[in-house]
Amino acid sequence: MSNNQSNNENEAKRLEGVAMGISHFGALPEDVGNYSSTWRKLIAYCKNHLAGIIIAVVFTIAGNVLQVISPGWMSALVDEVKIGLTGSLNISAVWRIAVILILLFACSALLGFLQNFIMATITARISRSMRSAILHKINRLPLKFFDRVSIGDIISRVTNDVDTIGQTLNQNIGMLISSITLFVGAILMMFLTNWILSLVAIAMSMFGFLSSKAVMSRSKKYFRAQQSGIGAVNGHIEEVYSGHDIVASYNNIEAAKSEFDDMNGKLYNAAWKASFVSGFITPLMNFSGSLAYVAICVGGAILAMRETISFGVIVAFILYVNQFTQALTHIAETVPGLQSTTAASERVFELLGEEELPDESAKTQALTGVKGDISFRNVRFGYSKDKTVIHDFSADIKAGQKVAIVGPTGAGKTTIVNLIMRFYEPDGGDITIDGVPISSIARSGVHSQFGMVLQDTWLFEGTIKENIIYNKRGVTDEDVDRVFKAVGLDHYISTLPLGRDTMLDSRLSLSEGQKQLLTIARAMIQNAPMLILDEATSSVDTRTEALIQGAMDKLMAGRTSFVIAHRLSTIRNADVILVLNEGDVIESGTHEGLLASKGFYAELYNSQFSNL
């Protein structure tokens, strides 16, 4: 009873985790709490580059200070030139000021360049380490995680989202810092020069800033519509392109096209509106710049006529207003950029924050010289709460036995494999190898005991040889050739122009069966103490299978092996056949014994001969 209860508790906790995971993953960044926590994480991420960032910020500020003082010198230059209107012009004085100005601009440009260079370098490195963090994270996530997240989504986080972060950070952070410095500096200098003109200029510029802010808040909905429009079109296209055969041969092209046209039309509407509305910011800011410009000209002229200010001050003010409105424009422009940084970072940190497999560095128990006795004790498991796949699975497998697992689809055959390999953890009961519970052995320790071949052939882009050797060390070409011979691929491979060094890519059209033979060859090279074949030959025709049976038998000789197959010819010679139905072993025994008992297996087996 108490045991039961604790199991239920565990189950409840686990499911809570799953439910929470689902609700969080893919959630949209809406609330402010998320916003600030995302930025905290992002800043924490930048810690390694703190020194560089500080230098960059210092350079930015210094560069902008130089820019902010330059209008003062510009004003001096104008006044010096203006002396020529009434008196004698001092050319050397003009040159002196001009040289100072040139130095100011040159230093400011150099500092700006250095700052941009450092920021570009840092953001590229931050992006790289983010990508790398995700790559490593993928290895530490439980396989369960991948059941609820699409691969495309994860890849998109590595490429699109990290790219977005890199680009927007690079462009916007530098711009934001320099804009703020410039903004503050320009205001300061303006007030130091003439407060009346300052108030006039700021009032005019604020008009543009506030009106573009109003526009931005409206544009959000178009941007959202555009993003979801792209998403919808992308999803539709993906299905139609990859299922093209079916779409074409079921005459569904027109229907799909009209669906597409609908989405495409919606996207067009959202896209032009988003682009149009976002195009308002710069002209509005420019207009308010012009307003300020006019106000300075007129106001300045009035003041100049009253001899309150010199004409040079007007020129200086025009430059200040330029700097001021430019800073405001840039600040306004960074807002959407930083919003997309936040959205992208949130997606990245969400993935990085996913719960990992428990750390197993403490599990030092290693399996050496494994005999291969495997026991299942009351194993219970379900992928989700509402569906228990394995109810109460117990079995004892002796070292060296070939165990076949058969049963109708959905009986839980592959689940058993997932549990032996610790890809998933059982909800109850335990599994032992030579009496050692696998939960006490590190995952990698369990994995190294098994060679595995699955129905879904997995080959990667690389040479045939690389695919066969995979991560095994010290494999010679002779070993590889021997294995090719064993699976009957030697002839085929010898007809390829580069033999075993031929690249496996889309141009080399291997049949599904040939791919399965390659994955069997890979398992042979691996030479692990035990073996799992999950529908490993389902696409290989029975004749070829019979031909490589010898090699397979040799591979399985003396090794505990698990074979899952629909095809009964594959399993007939197993030492033990476990018949699964709805998550329970309902029969077990040898082929002959099970046939004789005329139970479920016999019915399954005889159905292939029944007459219709």
């Binding site: 020529g84 994860i154 109708p408 889309s506 001969f609």
Partner: protein, 619 residues
């Protein structure tokens, strides 16, 4: 990139022309603004000017600025519409093109690349078109306008301006030289990253089982490194442009004053000094406007390399002719006894060295069940895709109801066929939308049709156990169903078409023997039922030919691995290495065809084969 512009319609060209006119107006306004400034300067320097005099040019300046704002907004309106319309049109065109493609054409591009081309690449083109209309178009106007404006003034200033523009032009050219090839490398490097990550994710079970996490990560990391170093190179080089721009712009401003200083000194005492001074102020304002051309250029230029790569990728799709052309014949001879006739067919995949199928001839009669069996790679699936005309054959002919498949309007031909491929393809939607999929030329499917199809496909049980029944959601690729369930849904989809010909390309492999047997049984009785139904329909006036066709039952082509699936077929065709190794019924082939016997022996024991034959004899 320019090639794509030909897809703009006259309406959009008119809008683009409007953008040009508006840009002219806006730039004229921007260049005229400093003239008022000059007037104010002169007024300020003239003693005794009343303040009201200064207000007037001020008001003009505001009006001009407003006019300029209106122009920019109108430009943004038209530019947004034109670029979004171009994007939408290109998306539609690429989509139509891909829809007309065959497997072969899609395979050449790969479907993932086609998806990127339909979305990402088009977005790049859209962004550049927008930027081009909004900014790049203004650059020549700004330059020409600037030249006109300053040409009346002192040539020394003009020289200084030219020098500064030259400096920028040189820097931009050098930077582009360095960056362009790097940008071209970018896209393939992104592809490479995607590929390695996709690899690790799709093979995650194997990766972990082989403790190969490190091996996979190392591959992805090297792609990451390569991408980062290219990214760094382009970013750092692009950054180098900005200091030169700023030096050129600010330096020019200072130069204007220095030159002005000399001019004023020379004009001292002639009374022209004031004109020169106001010229200085105005000229530096012109320079301000002119230099926005530089800003625009440097903003747009970095987009050009990526967008032109994208444009090239889009053009490549649009320029590809589908390898299979549609025919003109709509109806075959419905009364023909040979529903399918294949004569001396040979086929090799494009670019392959050898024929996949050689010298294939066979006939399928109405209502027959014909099975195809043979080793992996013997050409069974290829033969089915040729019947479906996913490829065109190199030699020989395929006739369906007496008409060469090349001459059919594909749509009409497909109306007669229900095809189920090896891979179970399901679409996002519901059970109903997947089973009642497409169109068979008979005007939609009823719920009864769907129910009947599900029942025949042995899918009724699990569909009814779903909470929403027919309305139950199906995820992309049907990933929320097991392999066997997916296969049964695909079979139901084919049956729902009520076709004259059913083709099953190894579509029973995920089913256990029992389910498969029940399915085949249901299909046979359903065919009889349909025949009766159609016979009644004939009495009510449906064309005689169609009724006759149905009355004689549905023709079935089955590709299978299991002997048990096909033992009862009217004809079994044994393929070996692309050739027909034998044709006949089970018992004949068992005696006469060595390949068939080997296949049979690999699946059934001698005793079972004997028992089976014995059983047959008894009947």
């Amino acid at each position: 990139m320019l090639k794509l512009l030909k897809y703009l319609k006259p309406v959009e060209w008119a809008q683009a022309a409007a953008v040009f006119v508006l840009a002219l107006a806006q730039i004229w306004l921007d260049y005229t603004l400093p003239d008022f400034m000059a007037r104010i300067t002169r007024l300020v320097q003239t003693p005794g000017t009343p303040v009201s005099e200064i207000w007037r040019p001020g008001v003009y300046m505001i009006l001009f600025a407003l006019g300029s704002l209106a122009c920019v907004i109108a430009i943004s309106f038209f530019a947004s519409r034109v670029s979004a319309a171009l994007a939408a049109r290109l998306r539609g065109m690429v989509y139509d093109k891909v829809a007309a493609f065959t497997q072969e054409d899609i395979g050449r591009f790969t479907s993932s690349s086609l998806i990127t081309r339909s979305t990402n690449d088009i977005t790049q083109v859209q962004t550049l078109t927008m930027a081009g209309l909004q900014m790049l178009l203004k650059v020549p106007i700004l330059v020409v306008g600037g030249i006109i404006k300053i040409s009346g003034m002192n040539y020394r200033w003009t020289l200084a301006t030219a020098a500064s523009i030259m400096l920028i032009a040189i820097v931009v050219t050098i930077v582009m030289r360095v960056v362009l090839p790097e940008f071209r490398k970018m896209q393939p490097l992104v592809d490479r990253q995607n590929l390695t990550i996709r690899e690790s994710l799709t093979g995650r079970s194997i990766v972990r089982a082989y403790n190969a996490e490190g091996y996979q990560t190392a591959k992805s990391e090297s792609a990451n490194e390569a991408f980062t170093s290219t990214d760094l190179k382009t970013n750092r080089t692009m950054v180098a442009m900005s200091p030169f721009n700023s030096i050129a712009t600010n330096g020019l401003n200072i130069a204007v004053y220095i030159i002005g200083a000399y001019l004023i000194k020379a004009a001292a005492g002639t009374g022209n000094a004031l004109t020169v001074f106001s010229d200085i102020v105005v000229f530096s304002s012109y320079v301000g406007v002119l230099m926005s051309a530089v800003k625009f250029t440097t903003k747009v230029l970095p987009r050009i390399p990526r967008a032109s790569v994208s444009a090239g990728r889009i053009n490549e799709v649009l320029a590809t002719e589908p390898s299979v052309k549609d025919g003109t014949v709509e109806e075959g001879d419905a009364g023909a006894d040979a529903v399918i006739a294949v004569n001396n067919l040979s086929f090799r995949y494009p670019g392959a060295a050898d024929d996949v199928l050689k010298d294939i001839s066979f006939t399928v009669r109405r209502g027959e069940t014909v099975a195809f069996i043979g080793s992996t790679g013997s050409g069974k699936s290829t033969l089915m895709s040729l019947l479906m005309r996913f490829y065109d054959i190199s030699e020989g002919e395929i006739l369906i109801q007496g008409v060469n498949v090349k001459q059919y309007v594909k749509r009409k031909m497909y109306n007669r066929i229900g095809y189920t491929p090896q891979r179970s393809v399901l679409f996002r939607g519901t059970v109903r939308s997947n089973v009642a999929y497409g169109d068979n030329g008979k005007g939609g499917y009823s719920d009864e049709d769907v129910g009947r199809a599900l029942r025949t496909a042995q899918a009724e049980g699990f569909v009814e156990s779903l909470e929403d029944g027919y309305a139950a959601a199906i995820a992309q690729g049907g990933s929320n169903f097991s392999g066997g369930q997916r296969q049964r849904l695909c079979i139901a989809r084919a049956v729902c078409r009520q076709p004259e010909i059913l083709i099953f390309d190894d579509s029973f492999s995920a089913l256990d023997y029992k389910t498969e047997r029940d399915l085949r049984g249901a299909m046979n009785s359903a065919a009889q039922g349909a025949a009766q139904g159609a016979a009644q329909g004939a009495a009510q006036g449906i064309t005689q030919g169609a009724a006759q066709g149905a009355a004689q039952g549905v023709t079935k082509l089955i590709v299978a691995q299991r002997i048990s699936s096909i033992m009862d077929a009217d004809k079994i065709i044994v393929l070996d290495d692309g050739r027909i190794a034998g044709q006949g019924v089970h018992s004949e082939l068992l005696k006469e065809c060595g390949v068939y016997r080997e296949i049979a022996q690999s699946q059934l024991s001698e005793e079972e084969l004997g028992g089976r034959r014995h059983g047959e004899d008894e009947q």
